[in-house]
Amino acid sequence: MTLQDHAERADIFNRDEERVDWHDQTLWFVRQKRDRAANTLPEWEALREAASQIKNNVLGNLDEYLVQFEANAQRNGITVHWAADAAEHNQIVHQILVENKITQMVKSKSMLTEECHLNGFLEHNGIEVIDTDLGERVVQLAGEPPSHIVMPCIHKKKEEIGEIFHQHMGTEAGLSDPEILTALARADLRERFLTRRAALTGVNFAVAETGEFVVCTNEGNADMGAHLADVHIACMGMEKIIPKRAHLGVFLRLLARSATGQPSTTYSSHFKKPRTGQTMHLVIVDNGRSVQLGRPDFRSSLKCIRCAACMNTCPVYRRSGGHSYHNAVSGPIGAILAPNLDMKEYADLPFASTLCGSCSNVCPVKIDIHQQLYKWRQVLVKEGHVTPAKAASMQAMNTVLSNRRFFEVAGGVGRTMMKWFPGIVSNSLNPWYKHREMPAPPEQSFRDWYAENRK
């Protein structure tokens, strides 16, 4: 099987035009809710600036904050583990389960564990993992990865979800009412919460000053898991640190408003110490983050708080779907994080953008996402990770655009050719021609027009 790139996968998503339109409009609606929520706060831009500067400060002092956080967390009774890469992370989680003789675990949403492919690893080692976020449960049953970091099954229609539940949970066939489907999942998962001895959660923010970590959900699934289990394992990328508890005020005001337009998530849970009789483990993961930190052009991507505002606003994401990015984190932010992990495999992603800049405009921590997409393209071409055709056409463009005389001649030739032989550009070999008509060629170049009309 040949690996498909973003454009090929987007083609598959676009076969169902009605669904693409629905996907596009639904995410745009979320983007509009984000705008309304942001507009209720006159201090919104000041908050974004503060959040951005706090995160800059974190990147510049990351080692010290991590040391401080570890010491405080241990003082609170949390066992802290360090994982250099995905494999080590997975082994640590597995080891904790083995030591506690646990073979079944509930898990709330964690993009980090998606990045590390934890579920597959644990299942291979005889551990059953149940995803408990409703959207994640749907894609888990469907055997798919999430397509969106906040709304994991946004690519699915309710009838398909009814069918998935029918196949895997034995519910009645033909159900599609979201309220009924949610109630069925609630009953099924409640049983799991009550019987599983281990729960894994992600981490939204880890506070260096206090050694506590905060998990935000709307469903309450992280808490249902963690408070009923004997063992709580929380996994975090090392960049999730913030310096002080008071900084939570800034980030919690931004996070849900940017993500879904809510003034806050339903639950903002501050885990500081294990409850009596419980053990709490925290795994801090690098997995390429220290490498990204060393890339001056791309390090600010580590400021991301995973709100997905950049996805909801992105004209390419909305019309190509999350799966076309073939990475745990999709959309514009995923496209600047992924090449750090593997330039060859993700070389297509920074090109899956119009560079319109909307992502950077909505980012609550002011990451210059579209600039980084542009810069990654240059790195990827230089390192030889694009197709020879793309490299050759970029080289040709460079030659034409950097030589005035050549540009004039090429423009004249192009106008003449398009006029007499329109089939040269209006054919299926020209990707621009798909879904578009080529414009009529102008009679003369702007330069000639200007020379005639300058008076």
Binding site: N57, L62, L134, R186, V250
Partner: protein
């Protein structure tokens, strides 16, 4: 790992001041009430605990009710701290008390000392929270100023009932936690 971070981190920059906000400083009770209505919860103004007892009798007469408030012992169990939290799975209505509320998002703050079990605010089918009207702060910055350096094992903001919109963005109340949230606002 730390060595790798030290080698690649940028130059240190200063921490900024936290922006000042007076956006939600006026009409705090009204704003809190509006915000809770918008996220699917409800505010019931009460004068004293007998109003809450009356509400429970009216709505949950045949159901299991738990509370951390000895004042409500006439309508709910108060001795449940020694049972396993799993045994709370059949609780219909749980009544807890919050330290304070936040006008901007209708969140209420509780620490584990106020929950008896950390699972309590999540496992009951319906949740009631007693809040004093005088204990509403304007926004999340004031909330953290108020929390300060408080000690707790587990601290929690709750804003409304548990919810999901994972299926086609249709909002459904009652994902895994309580299906409703009622704040008993005491004057």
């Amino acid at each position: 790992m730390l060595q790798a971070v030290r080698q690649s981190k940028p130059d240190a920059s200063e921490l900024p001041a936290i922006p000042e906000s007076t956006t939600f400083a006026d009409r705090k009770v009204e704003r809190f009430t509006e915000a809770l209505n918008n996220i699917g919860g409800q505010v019931i103004p009460v004068r004293d605990f007998s109003d809450i007892s009356a509400y429970v009798r009216q709505n949950y007469v045949l159901n299991r009710v738990i509370t951390t408030l000895p004042e409500l012992a006439d309508v709910g169990e108060v001795h449940w701290h020694e049972v396993a939290p799993h045994e709370l799975a059949d609780v219909e209505f749980g009544i807890l008390v919050a330290q304070f509320g936040v006008a901007e998002n209708a969140a209420v703050w509780l620490t584990d000392l106020l929950m008896m079990h950390r699972a309590a605010p999540f496992i009951c089918q319906h949740l009631g929270v007693v809040l004093s009207a005088a204990d509403i702060v304007a926004n999340m910055h004031e909330a953290y100023t108020r929390i300060g350096a408080d000690e707790y094992g587990f601290g929690l903001f709750i804003a409304g009932p548990s919810k999901t919109a994972d299926i086609e963005q249709s909002l459904v109340l009652g994902a895994h936690g309580p299906k409703t949230m009622t704040v008993f606002l005491m004057e």
